[in-house]
């Protein structure tokens, strides 16, 4: 450890620092993932995986074609897209607006609101699900409330197959916006206060400060939140699983749930389930590449 230029010390240090994380990561995530992609190309249906008595053979992209032919796959995928659009165009702007409000001290009780908005993430999905089922039930308080105004009101919120996902989206906005708020807030607080001060002395109004100073400074953050939103929405599972399990008639299903239904319900269809998860990863990977490209093209201008 004497000389800091000796390359073997560098190598040894690098090795020591990286090895535990890399080993665990490859064992727990990378290997099972490769395994899962491989399974998606086989006809494995439970049983022995390795050795002479191995119980499977390669069948090519058969399961992917099965997946693309299934109408419920497309319904689930469409819902993922809705969730993604909602995250990108409601959660992120809302998270930013709220963070901005708190940052610019436009309201009183900032600390309180900050605490509240991040709090949902610690409430178990199960609580959220039972509560919302109770509220949205045809015999729940929302129905009672609406009937105060219109005694003949029928609770058809989830009976329109195209709108059934709406209550779920609504809950998602509440459940996850806090994370974006916190990210924006933390980065807003890193903006040099002197620049803002100078701008204000120069007579810049709120809007000019927002568009000319603050937003440009945050362009990188927007990209990162967009990436989080894209991967998060393609992965979304827990909340929907607990709230609707994809019903009515799979109209609120998402890819992860569609996969779960195939892997763990009834007679398991592992290859199809693995084809779905491979598809999910591929799509979010592609979308993230596109986001990065857009960043390079447009973000660089500022």
């Amino acid at each position: 450890m004497k000389s800091h230029t000796r390359p073997d010390e560098r190598l040894r240090a690098y090795f020591l620092l990286v090895l535990p994380a890399v080993t665990i990561y490859f064992a727990v995530i990378a290997f099972p993932t490769i395994f899962s992609i491989t399974l998606s190309l086989t006809d494995y249906s439970g049983g022995i995986v390795f050795g002479d008595r191995a119980d499977w053979s390669f069948v090519g992209f058969k399961h992917y074609f099965r997946m693309f032919r299934d109408q419920y796959f497309w319904i689930a995928f469409k819902n993922n897209i809705w969730i993604m659009l909602m995250s990108l165009f409601i959660q992120i702007p809302l998270g930013f607006t709220l963070a901005y409000t708190i940052f610019r001290k436009l309201i009183v009780g900032r600390e309180f609101f900050q605490t509240i908005i991040y709090m949902p993430t610690i409430i178990s999905c199960i609580v959220v699900a039972v509560l919302w089922q109770t509220f949205f039930s045809p015999y729940g308080p929302i129905t009672d409330f609406m009937r105060l105004f219109n005694p003949l009101w029928e609770n058809n919120l989830a009976n329109d197959p195209n709108l059934a996902i709406l209550p779920v989206l609504f809950v998602m906005v509440w459940y996850y916006t806090g994370m974006y708020l916190i990210i924006f807030l933390a980065n807003l607080q890193k903006i040099d206060s002197q620049i803002l001060e100078a701008a204000q002395i120069d007579g810049a109004n709120e809007r000019q400060m927002l568009f000319n100073i603050i937003l440009p400074a945050l362009s990188g953050v927007v990209v990162v939140t967009a990436i989080l939103a894209i991967s998060g929405s393609l992965k979304s599972f827990d909340l929907i699983f607990a709230m609707t399990s994809g019903n009515p008639a799979r109209r609120t299903s998402v890819l992860a749930l569609y996969m779960y239904d195939n892997a763990f319900k009834g007679s398991p269809d592992y290859p199809l389930a693995n084809a779905i998860s491979t598809f999910m990863v591929a799509v979010s990977f592609a979308l993230i590449l596109v986001t990065k490209k857009l960043e390079n093209r447009f973000g660089g201008k500022e």
Partner: protein, 287 residues
């Protein structure tokens, strides 16, 4: 901050006033939507199942605490609770420590392997737990770690690493190189630099990571349900899940169980909330 941003004192225009009102309304909606479920959960846990079924929204007519001891006893919560604490604390410490050490190497030691290794961690953020559950189960069995505490801890640690390495690397990259170079000139090795310089600076990101890990592992139930079969090594969410099956009808005890599971997190969150926002993005993103 010496500079006063205060806009409250400035004379607002009509438009700004409307905008501000809308914002306050949104914030109040969030507040109600967050506090109400918690209060509702607590009040529901004071109802018997039969009362809950007939009176889901109102206050309990005959409040009872009996759900708590019953849920605790039936669920066998003593050992579940201890296990949850064990899994959460060990995984959190390991994730923070391993992530930061790898992050330091990725961010500050030039190696050709870094690009590939770092990218593969980032891809890991995109993966869903469901997609690796079956292979992971087979693997755990093969290496003989099935139904052991270590066989649960290792996957927990592995699942937390991608986010940890990502946040850590981005953060440590923003630390000036000069800090490390001067330490190198004084003859410090990389490991020493990591422990005495990088780690202390990285506290905000470590705290963030810790908070994210603690809440997610405390509530995790899919993986442990697959990887554990002995009751003696299961965790709290598995016990709570016992009360919330599709065919289950015992809401009272289910809610009591949920309160038992939520309280430690609520306390934890209220204590550490200040650190969250300081850390969550401290370096997460280069502003």
């Amino acid at each position: 901050m010496g500079f006063k941003y205060g806009r409250l004192g400035a004379k607002p225009t009509a438009g700004a006033l409307i905008g501000r009102t809308i914002l306050v309304l949104i914030l109040l909606t969030f507040t109600v939507m967050t506090i109400y479920p918690i209060l509702w959960l607590i009040q529901s846990s004071l109802k018997t199942t039969q009362e809950f079924q007939m009176n889901r929204i109102g206050l309990p007519i005959e409040p009872t605490l009996s759900n708590y001891p019953l849920a605790w006893k039936i669920g066998g919560f003593t050992s579940l609770f201890l296990n949850s604490i064990l899994y959460t604390s060990i995984s959190t410490i390991a994730i923070v420590f391993l992530s930061l050490s790898a992050s330091f190497a990725f961010a500050k030691i030039r190696m050709r392997a870094t690009k590939f290794l770092y990218q593969s961690f980032v891809v890991g953020i995109l993966l869903t737990l469901q997609s690796i559950m079956v292979p992971l189960f087979l693997l755990t069995n093969m290496v003989g770690l099935y139904d052991t505490r270590i066989g649960i801890l290792i996957p927990y640690i592995g699942l937390g690493l991608p986010m940890g390495v990502y946040l850590g690397t981005e953060f440590i990259r923003s630390i000036p190189d000069s800090l490390i170079e001067s330490a190198r000139l004084e003859g410090a090795g990389y490991i020493r630099i990591f422990i005495s310089i990088i780690f202390p600076i990285s506290v905000p990101v470590a705290v963030t990571l810790a908070i994210m890990t603690v809440t997610s592992i405390w509530n995790e139930f899919m993986l442990i349900n697959i990887l554990a079969s002995k009751n003696s090594i299961k965790s709290l969410p598995v016990g709570i899940l016992k009360f919330s099956g599709a065919l289950s009808s015992d809401y009272g005890k289910q809610f009591a169980a949920l309160v038992i599971g939520m309280l430690p997190m609520l306390i934890f969150y209220l204590i550490f909330r200040k650190h969250i926002q300081r850390g969550l993005a401290a370096g997460a993103v280069k502003g």
